[in-house]
């Protein structure tokens, strides 16, 4: 696929115009390279996650087929796509109206500004086009050497566990590992310095005994493997599982790509909200001709539509940003505001601070979806935007609105965003039962695992670890240990304390 066809002149002019407006507003983005694609190529690129070259895998073919079908039946089309690289590549759909293209360009400016400036993207590889292409050639090389099916099957296994990573780990400075010299020093029982004649009073035998015990415990902990429960399961497997070189390469590729995509899942609401905020701002106040208003409004209404039982991240994101902007413009924040309990005063509260724009730029820099919602999703906003939480009613076997209570809605929202909506799984022990079995723990937060999937995923983990793999979780409020070994799958009730 050729990537660099020159953009038609009228679109070049449009891009220039939009980007001038965007920069005037203070958006700061990587250079953007647009490519106009027909819908087939668009679907292809979309199936490949926005990249021209990926490793061969049937899943891309499946996604492509699904996208093509839903386009052909007129159910959906991909308006725009942009990838987080420097320069950024963005794709326009051939045959879209000029108003649509204009909207997309403004939207893309917002996204690229977000990629460049949001903290959670700061560790991503901005040359990922090359990264993906390298991954592809690594995988192809192994396929030539070991056979396509063998490698593809193993990639299936890797994909099955690709969500067991810890995106936050990139931002945590871990304590340096204790040096060997230090370890020797601590071999001796620590005693409180004392003059000779005071020794037996200051360091009595009981005290020394206690110290010795503590030391032994510490040492035992060091022998644990891993030392602390580890959320980056993939990293643990890369380091400790008995993998062939090609297997390790494949797992590394999958882990690398999972980390690349993770920030996008962590900032979906903010990112879309930010882009929507800016396409709306740029188009309505600058770039729109009178004759285009109706078409624009139509397109925009489509983007922001809500449907029962669905959360539209575009809508939530943009409304919350606007709400923040309004609050900081009017000075509706800080101690005085929090402590005011007169609705009348609050309703007409306006300090004319005009800090809104500055504030939302700060928010886009420092927050992710969870902190964004946690900090700015307020009671007023919840009521104004008519949020509700829904759940499944077994008796009516239907999904129902459960509550409009602010606390409940907010908790539900935060829960669904925690760990990108994935269960939190940690490696507890790589030498479980002292027989080299792998023990994982699911940090149960009120929602059980999907058992069918869990079973199959365990089987895949077994293929990587090559020894039996168990996961400790809670099923119907009971502690259970699910295990997959060479004798197949089994589950039994356990006592949480026994697992250490």
């Amino acid at each position: 696929m050729s990537l660099h066809k020159p953009l038609p002149v009228h679109l070049q002019d449009m891009q220039q115009e939009i980007e001038v407006h965007a920069r005037d507003y203070g958006l700061d983005f990587f250079p953007i390279l647009y490519e106009v694609l027909d819908y087939k190529t668009m679907n292809e690129v979309a199936a490949y996650g926005g990249f021209p070259t990926r490793y061969p895998h049937w899943r891309f073919g499946m996604d492509y087929e699904r996208l093509s079908k839903s386009y052909e039946y007129g159910m959906s089309k991909i308006y725009e796509m942009v990838i987080n690289t420097n320069p950024s590549y963005a794709y326009l759909l051939e045959g879209n109206s000029l108003v649509d293209q204009k909207l997309v360009m403004a939207h893309v400016c917002g996204h690229v500004d977000f990629f460049k400036n949001n903290y959670y993207f700061s560790k991503t590889n901005r040359k990922m086009i090359d990264g993906m292409a390298n991954h592809a050639s690594t995988v192809r090389r192994h396929m030539r050497a070991h056979g396509q099916s063998v490698v593809e099957d193993f990639i299936d296994v890797c994909l099955s566990i690709e969500n067991l990573i810890d995106p936050m780990s990139l931002f945590i400075a871990r304590k340096a590992k204790a040096g060997s010299g230090e370890a020797e020093e601590t071999q001796e029982t620590p005693r409180i310095p004392a003059k000779g004649y005071m020794e037996e009073y200051i360091n009595p035998p009981e005290f020394l005994e206690a110290q010795r015990k503590k030391l032994a415990e510490e040492q035992q902990k060091q022998e644990k493997f891993p030392v602390e429960p580890q959320r980056d399961v993939l990293k643990f497997l890369l380091e400790a599982a008995p993998l062939a070189d090609w297997e390790r390469d494949c797992l590394e590729v999958i882990r690398n790509e999972a980390y690349y995509y993770a920030p996008q899942a962590m900032t979906k609401i903010m990112n879309e909200g930010w882009a929507t905020y800016w396409h709306s701002k740029i188009l309505t106040s600058k770039a729109l001709k009178g004759s285009e208003v109706v078409d624009y409004a139509d397109a925009c209404a489509g983007v922001l539509a809500t449907a029962p039982g669905r959360l539209n991240p575009y809508k939530l994101g943009v409304e919350l940003l606007r709400h923040i902007e309004m609050r900081w413009d009017k000075g509706q924040f800080g101690q005085e505001w929090e402590e005011c309990d007169s609705m009348a005063v609050k309703a007409s509260w306006d300090r004319r601070l005009g800090l809104g724009r500055e504030k939302i730029f700060e928010v886009r820099k420092l927050y992710n979806d969870i902190t964004f919602i946690d900090e700015y999703f307020t009671l007023d906003f919840c009521i104004e935007q008519k949020f509700y939480s829904f759940g499944y009613n077994e008796r009516a076997s239907s999904w129902e609105i459960m509550s409009r209570d602010f606390e409940k809605v907010k908790k539900q929202l935060l829960d669904s965003l925690t760990n990108r909506g994935q269960p939190v799984i940690r490696v507890i022990n790589g030498n479980f039962k002292n027989t080299g079995e792998l023990l994982l723990r699911h940090d149960h937060e009120g929602v059980d695992l999907d058992m069918n999937h869990a079973k199959d995923t365990l089987e895949n983990l077994f293929k990587v670890w090559k020894r039996p793999v168990s996961i400790h979780t809670i099923v119907d409020e009971k502690d259970k240990l699910l295990r997959h070994g060479s004798d197949g799958y089994s589950e039994k009730a356990v006592n949480a304390a026994d697992l250490g």
Binding site: I161, E272, Y388, W399, M402
Partner: protein
Amino acid sequence: MSQKIDLDQRRFRKIIRGKIKDNLRKYISNGEMVARKGKDTVSIPLPSVDIPRFKHGGKQQGGVGQGDGEVGDSLGQDGEEQPGGPGEAGDKPGEHALEVDVSLEELAEILGEELSLPRIEPKGSEKITSHKDRYTGIRTTGPESLKHFRRTYKEALKRQVATGTYSKKNPIVIPIKDDKRFRSWKTEPLPQSSAVIIYMMDVSGSMGDEQKEIVRIESFWLDTWLRSQYKGIESRYIIHDAMAREVDRDTFFSTRESGGTMISSAYKLCSKIMEDEYPSDEYNIYPFHFSDGDNWSVDDTVTCVDILNNQILPNSNQFSYGQVESPYGSGQFIKDLQEHFAEAENLVTSEIKGKDAIMDSIKDFLGQGK
């Protein structure tokens, strides 16, 4: 430009094919596919294609939405697809098993491979002709709707240049009647082998819903296979108890009578249809008869054997008799047939004990390659 995605898509189709093949017996037995038939495709649920992950079970999870509605209002039944607007889906209730569309042709191929069914050598091929119109030439008369504009104006231009009425300064070309050209067509004979399937079913009281379901599933697969072998194929449906009549497909599967059973009535009607409408030198004829094996009297069975011997067997590719086990039927008829037609090459019988046996029975019927 060959797209890279084509390779991945081909891999995907291959995997699907493999999965369907592995689970074919299950798919055939539970009859799910029959209900999912579209015009040329069947959609098949394939949950095992999806990549498994540790993820939250759906029902405890719930989500957050936005908009009007009271607490307790329903947002949709389980499994119902939520109408989605443009934009990305957020949390959506319910989960959807992965469904893939497979063309009937491909399905037939899979069936053929799995059961190692021989391809059918059609008889009377090339003899049968259907006709197809093709636009091949131009002539000077014809209806206005077929007027060939370019040729007409070219003729007019030629005439005007030739007669000197064409002026470069005022290049107006006006065709007259003689200039007009029309597309003309030729009717070409199209060699084709034709076939007809005649389904007969006993609908007397002893054939229950389960028995009919089996017949329905089995006929779906027989249809699918035979359709993949012949271009133009017709299906006819005959139901009988003590009397036989021809019905349409829906009636065929939904009718239930309470009368007794005279199989000969169906055979008579079948042979009449064959005689009147499907000359055996032009048609490949496949009568299928499904019953629980009860017949009214020994005399009637003798009549049946007689009709089969003299009329149906000599004129059809293969006569197939499927006996569905039912708690009420005696199951005698299959024994009678086997006794009388031990030597007959183109009469096949098969006992279908339950849904699980459908696949074997299909193999019995289609394994002869006739």
